[in-house]
């Protein structure tokens, strides 16, 4: 399809028009459009009632994502002078990677346990390098965090947590990340370790990503860098789309 310069300019203007709303509302709408439309992202479709292969594809690629997640969020801490952003990110990194001792393992640890519960040992998981699309996405997120304003990085990273935000349904999302019935105590569709991993995101990310997006609203307005934040977020969800496809590509390896 060939489009004229004028059409391109107009379509870009349309895409980035906030229509007087907060940037976080625009982000939510764009996220729904890309991942939860009438044709949801193929990984979302696969995760509704996931096979062992889908979950193992998730585990193997996502360990790399979470390592980069910590690094990207650490760049925010390194660059911001705002105490609320510092404390938010440190809490987030602790939850994702460090854990809270006896109170609860990190999200990263829960991911590895999910893999083990599906018969893949930890050493194998940790030794498997990322697929090319995962690798490209990770490198780009690293570069975004290193070179962009920290508010852009916040939008780029925490915008992705919308994937597990159930409240998007009331704003037009046609699906949730997975069918919540698989978490039920009486359901045997997935292993307990899988439930523990998925539940963490299911329960935490709605409020968690909201808090981050509130900070994005506040500081993109204070630093007057809304357009850069939008552009970086748009780039990030493109990367995420490819990264989710890499999970499915990896899953093929585990298909019986």
């Amino acid at each position: 399809m060939k489009i004229s310069e004028r059409e391109l300019v107009e379509s870009l203007r349309d895409y980035f028009d906030l229509h007087g709303e907060k940037i976080s509302e625009w982000m939510r709408a764009k996220f729904i459009e890309k991942f939860f439309g009438t044709k949801p992202h193929p990984f979302v479709t696969a995760l509704q009632h996931p096979t062992r292969a889908t979950l193992l594809g998730y585990v193997v690629e996502h360990q790399h994502f979470l390592r980069q997640w910590v690094k990207s969020c650490a760049y925010i801490v390194a660059k911001t002078d705002m105490v609320d952003a510092t404390l938010y990110e440190l809490d987030n990194i602790n939850t994702e990677f460090v854990g809270y001792g006896s109170e609860g393992p990190s999200h990263y640890e829960l991911l590895l346990r999910m893999g083990e519960s599906l018969g893949l040992d930890r050493t194998t998981i940790l030794e498997t390098p990322p697929l090319s699309d995962t690798s490209i996405a990770i490198k780009t997120w690293d570069q975004i965090a290193r070179d962009s304003h920290w508010v852009e990085t916040m939008a780029a990273m925490h915008g992705l947590e919308l994937i597990a935000d159930r409240t998007l349904v009331s704003e037009g999302a046609k699906a949730t990340y997975f069918d919540p019935s698989i978490l039920r105590k009486e359901s045997n569709e997935v292993t307990d370790a899988t439930k523990n991993f998925l539940r963490e995101g299911y329960e935490a990310d709605a409020g968690h990503s909201k808090e981050a997006l509130d900070l994005v609203d506040k500081y993109s307005s204070r630093f007057s860098n809304t357009e850069n934040v939008q552009a970086t977020f748009a780039r990030s969800i493109d990367l995420f789309q490819n990264y989710l496809m890499a999970r499915l590509e990896r899953a093929e390896q585990f298909t019986e």
Copy 2:
């Protein structure tokens, strides 16, 4: 004093010569030379039995140091791919700035409480901008963390924790950071909040800085960047020397 080029080269070679020892041993020796020689740094002398003014000078300047500390260490987390370094730095940032809930306030919080116990309210402390020497040092530490290899940043930052390392005495230090008798329960020389702040460093930093310097030994050797690490550490202790003078300069303001 005018020295020839040859003398300069020889003196530099002397300064950086590891004499076959680990880089951490060289760092310890250089630190002792600069801060704990026969004529200890004036702030160390003042802290042996500190006046209220000395402690308030400490509080007001050090709040800025600790904010930068978090940022510098976050750069290490952002840049390293080594899990032991990541976990070490996150634990360190949590102790310094986040705290462990009911288990214990952060080092930053203990500092502010020390200031309050000496009659300076928190708002005044937080609103006081740093003195010029503090400000220059902080900007340079930020630049080091942003632009240098993470192992250099580790040496630059955690090398400074040697200030509270009591074990340096067995390696030739002529003084400790303060006279430990002021921490005694029966002593009324300093407030309880002051004891709590100083004790934290006194008890933690010996082992804490050792763990960091072990990582510096390990990774400076693995990345073959020993000379850069040495140069950055040397620069950092120069900055620290000036920064400690700024604490004394600030103390003058509180001298009755």
